[in-house]
Each structure stands twice: as C-alpha cells, then as structure tokens.
C-alpha cells in the first residue's frame, strides 16, 4: 500500500470530525423541530413532513453545488472565505443530515404522541411534561435518527468534493481519498480507506446505540 497509515489516521480523524460536527448541527436544529412537529396534538403539518421525508433523498452533489455558489469568493457569502475549508464541508453535510435527524425524530415522536399525552395529562402533567416524556420515550428511535444523519454525512462524497476540494492535510476525508486512490489506480489503498470508513461508522453507531440503551 502506498498510502502511509499515519496519513490514513489523519484522514479518518478529519472525516470523523467533519461528520460529527455536521451531525451535531443537524441535531441542534433537527431534534427540536422533529419533536415539535411530531408532538403537535392536531394532525396537520403534512407539508413539513413531506419536505423532511423528501429531504432525505436530497442529492449531495446539488447541495454541494449550491454551497459552492454561496461560499465562492464571487458568491454572496464569499467574504467568509469558507470555500474549500472543512467548515464548508460541515455546513453542506449538516444540510444533508438534517432531514434524516428531523424526519426520523418526527416519525418516532408522532407514533407515541397520543398515548404519552393521554397518560401524562391523566397523571396531571402539563404540555412541558408531555414533551420531555415524549423525548425520553423516543430515545431509541432518536438514536437511530442520529445514526442515520451521521451515516449520511460521513459516507457522502459529492458535496465533500465540490465544497472541500480534496486538499491534502486540509479537506481530504475518507470518501474523497477513496475516489483519489481509485483514480490513481491504487486500489489497495482505496480498499483500506474504505474499510476504515466502515469501521469508523460501525464504532460511532455502536457508541450511539449503547448510549441509547442505557437504563
């Protein structure tokens, strides 16, 4: 293998950081939105639901292209100087992970909303207790929502290439490195990077699942 393991480690750490930050941002916006939409007593909000579910199929290259145009020095947010930086990758991947987190959270909360509301209200609780109970009772599917979001972010290559540029020691992540090594015909390195990518995803998902199953 021509790629040194130290560099594989560096690339894997960057992948983990970028996808982790993207999932965190997606959760920051997606969890409250999902709980809020799912817990609303009256049905409705179908439009939001359709948008979120359709968003799960958002094409990464299109998201990448939009962020490229936004963040380009000739674009409206060019002054931030974010194009071809890890921060740009975090933003684009957060947008890709967001519908996963919000959509799966919404579905999980909605399935429990009526039962939990009846129970909590019956015991004399208010709407605030309804929401916290719902959040707690939905923790396992919410872990699945986070895992799906993380998976979408870390496995994505189209947006990462367009807004990151695959710059060595700067924006190269596991997926873009696999593309590069394949392009160079270094299939052994490409395969090793792919295995590391699967390993990282597996470990992160395992940590999330164990965390969700506590108690």
């Amino acid at each position: 293998m021509t790629l040194p393991w130290s560099e594989v480690g560096e690339i894997a750490a960057r992948s983990l950081g970028v996808a982790g930050a993207a999932t965190f941002l997606a959760a920051l916006a997606g969890l409250p939105l999902g709980v809020w939409l799912g817990a609303r007593p009256r049905k409705g909000g179908m439009g939001a639901q359709v948008l979120l579910y359709a968003g799960m199929g958002l094409p990464p290259v299109v998201v990448g292209l939009v962020f490229y145009l936004l963040l380009s020095r000739s674009g409206p947010l060019g002054g931030l100087g974010l194009l071809f930086t890890p921060a740009a990758m975090v933003l684009a991947e957060a947008v890709l992970a967001f519908p996963m987190v919000a959509g799966f959270t919404l579905a999980a909360v909605r399935a429990r909303a009526d039962g939990v509301r009846r129970l909590v209200r019956g015991l004399g609780g208010g709407e605030r207790q309804v929401l916290t109970t719902l959040l707690w009772e939905s923790r396992r599917p919410i872990v699945a929502a986070l895992a799906a979001g993380f998976g979408a972010a870390i496995s994505e290559v189209g947006a990462a290439t367009i807004v990151g540029g695959d710059i060595r020691h700067h924006t190269r992540v596991l997926t873009t490195a696999v593309v590069l090594e394949t392009r160079k015909g270094e299939l052994e390195s490409a395969l090793a990077l792919g295995a590391v990518l699967l390993g990282v995803t597996l470990i992160v998902t395992a940590i999330l699942v164990v965390w969700g199953e506590r108690r």
Binding site: S72, R73, G75, G78, F84, I167, L180, R183, G185
Partner: protein
C-alpha cells in the same frame, strides 16, 4: 475575561495571516503523478507558504480560478489559457513543462494505430475501424486536445456507437479503456503511472507537434479579485521557473521510467499562449 477573549481573537487572526496559504487549482495529471508533492514541500520550507492543491480537470480548474476561488492555476490547454488571459482573469503566464499525449489502447490493436504515420492518421484509423474509443468528455485539457485532433482529421465521432464518454478523470478513464478494450487519448505522465495497473499499450507515443502537451502557470488576477493571494502566487511562479527547480521537474521519476515525465521549459513556451 473580555480582554483575554480579545487576546485570543487577535492571536487567531495572527495565526490565520501567518498561514495565508496559496491555493493552486491544477489538473489531475500533475497531482496524481506525485510531481507536486515532490517539489512543493521544498517551496513551503523556503517561503513558509503552505500550498493547498485542488486537483481537478483543466476546465474546472480554470472555472474555480475564474471565480476567484484559487490564487494560481497550473493547467494544460494553451487555447483555454489564452482565453483566461484575454478575459483578464489571469496574469503572468509562464510555461513550466511539457510532455506529449499518447494514444493508448488494447495490445491487440484492431485499428492498427501502431503503424500510423501521424496523430491524425491514428485518429482516422480508429474511426475507420469503428474501434471503441473512450473520451473524457469533461472539458479537461486532454479532452480539448482529443476534440481538436478529431476536428483536424475532419472527423465527427459524436453519435458513433463506438464513441464513449467517461466523464471522469484520466486514471479512471484509462481503467475504463482497459476494461472495455478501447482506445483513449492520455497524457504521458498519467499513462506511465498507470501502465503497470491497466492492460493498455502506448500505441502512438511519438514526438508530434499535434501531440505536444504543455503545462502553463498563471496567477489569478489580483486586480479582478481583491482577495487573491497574489504575492504567494508570484513567489511560486518564480520558484517553479528557477533553473534548479526546473531541473528537478525534468529529473522527476526519470530513473523509474527511463524517460522524463515532465520536460522543463524554463518559461519558454513551445506553443505560444497569446492573450
């Protein structure tokens, strides 16, 4: 507390300024062949300027630079470079190196490209035989040359059932050509690099003015884009043209392939690039 925060902010700004990396948009051939990684670390050591390389096709490299998203370009399509200069997007053009394009294909060579008298004859033979040909189809420098060759030969391959467009980089296109037992046009560097990994023979690989592959460097116009790191781009230009660096470019992997992957030009263009 507030003062410490301001301190940290100033320190961070200072760090950002000290780094002020140079962003070079370039073609996959100079990057994937390892040339840049062989010469740029020395530049960084001498100047403290970190070079961030974005390796894409020539068309995309010029598009990225044309929006001010890179500070310099190193590409290989003289006519596109001339247009870039003409549009005022680039300045200080310099020819860095050259090699030649190669027509690669299956060793069985059904179109008898091996015996072609010229590059145009080779294209005509492929066309006449209706042998599978893989085009990059991606606006890269190699794609531009391929289209120019068809045109010069008076042929129109579009719509022919044997004419396929890969839409991917040179390395991937070579792999595809090998899998499909097809012909393709490739730059010498990528071909030599991939030779052991794909079953393709270099069938037309001769000094031929039509097959000349010249790499040009340009600074992205600081007049056009205020944020361009022009100082660093000029320093890299001077570095690349330094006689000792040019010799190192010429010697790169010469031992391994028994020929130069990139021939130094010392700034003297073989094909003129006029704005």
């Amino acid at each position: 507390m507030g003062r410490r925060f301001v301190f940290i902010l100033i320190a961070l700004c200072g760090l950002a300024l000290a780094a002020a990396p140079l962003r070079l948009a370039t073609t996959t051939s100079v990057n994937d062949s390892g040339l840049l990684e062989a010469i740029l670390p020395d530049f960084t050591r001498q100047t403290g300027i970190e070079v961030q390389v974005i390796a894409v096709g020539t068309g995309q490299a010029l598009a990225i630079a044309g929006r001010g998203d890179a500070d310099a370009v190193l590409v290989h399509a003289p006519d596109l470079e001339a247009r870039f200069l003409r549009e005022g997007l680039g300045v200080a053009h310099a020819c860095v190196a050259y090699n030649n394009f190669v027509i690669a294909g299956p060793a069985s060579d059904p179109a008898r490209v091996d015996g072609a008298a010229s590059a145009l004859d080779a294209m005509q033979r492929i066309y006449a035989a209706g042998a599978p040909f893989i085009s990059r189809g991606d606006n890269s420098g190699t794609y531009h040359r391929e289209r120019a060759l068809w045109k010069a030969a008076g042929l129109e391959p579009d719509g022919q059932p044997w004419y396929l467009e890969s839409g991917s980089g040179m390395g991937a296109t070579l792999s595809l050509a090998a899998e499909k037992r097809a012909y393709t046009l490739t730059d010498l560097g990528t071909y030599l690099f991939m030779k052991d990994k794909v079953e393709l023979a270099g069938l037309y690989d001769r000094p031929d003015p039509l097959m000349l592959n010249q790499y040009g460097y340009m600074v992205v116009s600081p007049g056009r884009f205020a944020r361009v790191n022009a100082e660093a781009a000029y320093r890299l230009r001077a570095y690349l043209l330094r006689p000792d660096v040019q010799r190192r470019i010429g010697a790169y992997l010469k031992d391994r392939f028994a020929r130069s992957l990139f021939n130094p030009l010392y700034g003297q263009c073989k094909v003129e690039v006029k704005p």
